[in-house]
């Protein structure tokens, strides 16, 4: 069995002491930023991108994967104990989890979340192990037309699914695409929208936009509407972890959550919000204790938490096999690959198996580390919440400006940070989704290259865009997606 051998080889890479250390660094950092407000996995990885100049790619990606998974674990802790979901994916956890914590069952909620995350993370990584090579194999046969159709579908689903309205989703997406065309055209060498400015020739880096939108925009927004009353933390001292009955009620939601989360995570746009919402709805329908829902039902924590972690593994399938990012975090991971001059896709599986399989193997290792880090040590982690907010947000800005300044030492980047940061503020005030900007920014140039290659091959006939069965199907799906918001509205109303 070839996959198995490759995976074993991956473990030999992941279990090297230095790589184990980077996995630990990533897991610790990920858990910490999952717990801290104002900073998430995408921002953290973007701020750490500069280390790619000093680190070998395998070590860097092992650390980044630890951050990606760790943030999912850490996010559930604050949802349960403080009722402050740090990101969309932990919202459903807060619903039942915080009720459990207030009823004196916080420890059980944390345990089912951590163990559920571990079970889901491990099963989803297993699915990734076998699905990724298969998809990569298929992707060998994809033509530029197919790739263009895939990006078009990704655009539509991201714009439609994220955010409150289609218009606002597409506005965000087009802002990203518009920023993405700035700079030298890679195919003809023509400067575009540089207005004669030399510093704009190399384009606007994803890091600058991401840091500005996520860090600067958030700081400005929170400063303007700061809620200084601290949340009340539910105590967990001296409580029992899961009882036998808790276990019996949790294991099925874990598995169902995984089954929902993994494939949904692989689809563009669904992120972690929709799978967790679906899982919560499903568990509420299937439970034998419907009276407990809304008052702290353990199924309502177990299912969404599993879905959340499985979705995190799911985003790696299109990213590694097609080079297609489906979330903000995936977009910044793709930027990290590009920093190394690597293009994720079918060829990376053959050209750099040590990296791919080392990364996949490290996900298994990271999951074990995270379970150990989170379950017994949760009391230590919540101490992080004692950092006073003024100094925390001030520190985030310091790291943001280092990330932007350290890229090229350019005042133009700092100016862009101010402008895009202000845009991030406005987007929060008027409820525009942020992630489509980043997807548009990183996928726009890819879509353009594929479109132009495809059209050049078809001698300019636009029919070439639907010339393969796959491209025709995908473009049809993209059009159909525009009707999706109506379905989503129903789903949200039920949740």
């Amino acid at each position: 069995m070839e996959t198995f051998e490759l995976l074993l080889h991956g473990f030999s890479v992941a279990l090297q002491p230095t790589n184990l250390m980077w996995a630990l660094v990533g897991s610790v950092l990920g858990t910490a930023i999952g717990i801290l407000p104002g900073i998430g996995p995408a921002l953290t990885i973007a701020l750490l991108l500069p280390v790619t100049t000093a680190l070998a790619p395998t070590s860097a990606f092992i650390m980044f994967a630890g951050i990606l998974y760790g943030a999912m674990y850490g996010g559930s802790t604050t949802s349960i104990l403080l009722n402050t979901p740090g990101e969309a994916g932990s919202m459903m956890t807060a619903l039942e989890g915080n009720k459990m914590a207030r009823a004196g069952r916080g420890a059980a909620a944390l345990a089912t979340a951590a163990i559920g995350s571990f079970v889901a993370g491990t099963i989803a990584t297993l699915a990734l192990t076998f699905a990724a090579p298969a998809v990569a194999e298929l992707a060998f046969y994809f033509k530029p037309t197919d790739y263009f159709a895939i990006t078009a579908l990704a655009f539509c689903s991201v714009a439609v699914v994220m955010g409150t309205s289609r218009t606002r989703g597409f506005v965000s997406l087009f802002l990203g695409i518009a920023i993405g065309v700035i700079g030298i055209d890679t195919m003809t060498g023509q400067p575009r929208l540089t207005f004669g400015n030399m510093q704009l020739l190399r384009g606007i880096a994803l890091t600058v936009v991401l840091v500005s939108l996520f860090a600067v925009g958030e700081i400005l927004y929170v400063a303007s509407r700061y809620r200084s009353t601290p949340g009340v933390m539910a105590p967990i001292k001296g409580q029992l972890w899961m009882t036998k009955q808790d276990f019996a009620r949790s294991w099925k939601p874990w598995l169902r959550g995984t089954a929902i989360g993994f494939p949904m995570g692989a689809l563009p746009g669904s992120g972690s919000e929709i799978p967790t919402m679906l899982s919560y709805t499903l568990e509420r329908k299937l439970t034998k204790h419907p009276e407990e829902f809304g008052k702290g039902a353990i199924e309502g924590v177990a299912g969404p938490e599993a879905a959340n972690n499985a979705a995190a593994a799911g985003i790696l399938v299109p990213l590694l096999t097609l080079g297609l990012p489906t979330s903000a975090t995936a977009a910044v991971l793709l930027a990290a690959f590009q920093n190394y001059g690597l293009q994720p896709g079918p060829f990376l599986f053959t050209s750099n198996p040590a990296l791919i399989w080392g990364l996949i193997a490290s996900l298994y290792v990271g999951n074990v580390m995270l379970l150990v880090l989170n379950l017994p040590l949760v009391g230590i982690w919540v101490q992080l919440l004692r950092i006073p907010r003024p100094q925390l947000y001030a520190g985030i800005l310091v790291f943001a400006m280092i990330g932007v300044w350290g890229l090229a030492g350019s005042w133009m980047d700092l100016t862009i940070m101010l402008v895009v940061g202000l845009a991030g503020y406005v987007m929060r005030v008027y409820d525009f989704p942020i992630a489509p900007v980043l997807i548009g920014l990183i996928l726009g140039p890819m879509a353009e290259t594929q479109l132009r290659t495809a059209l050049a091959a078809g001698q300019g006939n636009p029919m070439v865009l639907v010339s393969t069965p796959l491209s025709a199907i995908l473009l049809t799906l993209a059009v159909l997606l525009l009707a999706l918001p109506i379905l989503l509205k129903r789903l949200r109303a039920n949740a």
């Binding site: 104002g38 100049t53 309205s165 218009t167 518009a178 929170v222 101010l418 008027y430």
Partner: protein, 175 residues
């Protein structure tokens, strides 16, 4: 996300939203940006010799998209689309905007454009740190000064070690 947020899309005159209820300027701004991109796109070759599509097409598409979306947004705003500020972990979307705090934080973000080059990263970061902390209500400026200075210096040395080009420590003294 609150479920009641979705039920008020029409005629959104729900309880005093802090955001101005008719943000036409966003739509107009998008249309203006679209016009700039559209203009730039038309200035570029639309077709290339062997490729059917030149460097101008995508720019034109982006501009046209923004223009159309801006117009749709203006129309939606005119029809009464509601805009509710997002909730964040430490922010309440329903509270009124604190202008002083916002402007202080904005100064902290704008400051590096002028000082990062001539005065160096540690100095700039310390000052921005103090400003943001102040915006969030910290009134012990000396404590923020020490915290900011320690963090900025530690970060400068650490990232320098990692090979980041952060410039000199304090350029006026040539160190």
């Amino acid at each position: 996300m609150s479920t009641d947020g979705n039920n008020t899309t029409e005629g959104g005159s729900q309880a005093a939203a802090p955001a101005s209820p008719r943000p036409y300027w966003i739509g107009v701004g998008l249309m203006a940006m679209g016009a700039v991109w559209l203009y730039a796109g038309f200035g570029l070759p639309q077709g290339a010799r062997y490729a059917a599509v030149g460097p101008g097409l995508f720019v034109t598409l982006a501009g046209a998209g923004l223009l159309v979306l801006g117009a749709i947004l203006v129309l939606q705003i005119w029809r009464g689309e509601s805009f509710e500020a997002q909730d964040a972990e430490d922010a309440d979307g329903a509270t009124k905007m604190d202008k002083r705090a916002f402007l202080t934080a904005l100064v902290a973000v704008a400051l590096p454009i002028g000082t990062m080059g001539p005065l160096g990263m540690p100095f700039t970061a310390t000052l921005s740190f103090m400003l943001v902390a102040n915006a969030f209500g910290s009134r012990r400026w000396w404590l923020d000064l020490i915290c900011g200075l320690v963090l900025a210096c530690a970060a400068w040395f650490l990232f320098k070690q990692l090979g980041l080009q952060l410039g000199r420590f304090f350029p006026p003294l040539g160190v």
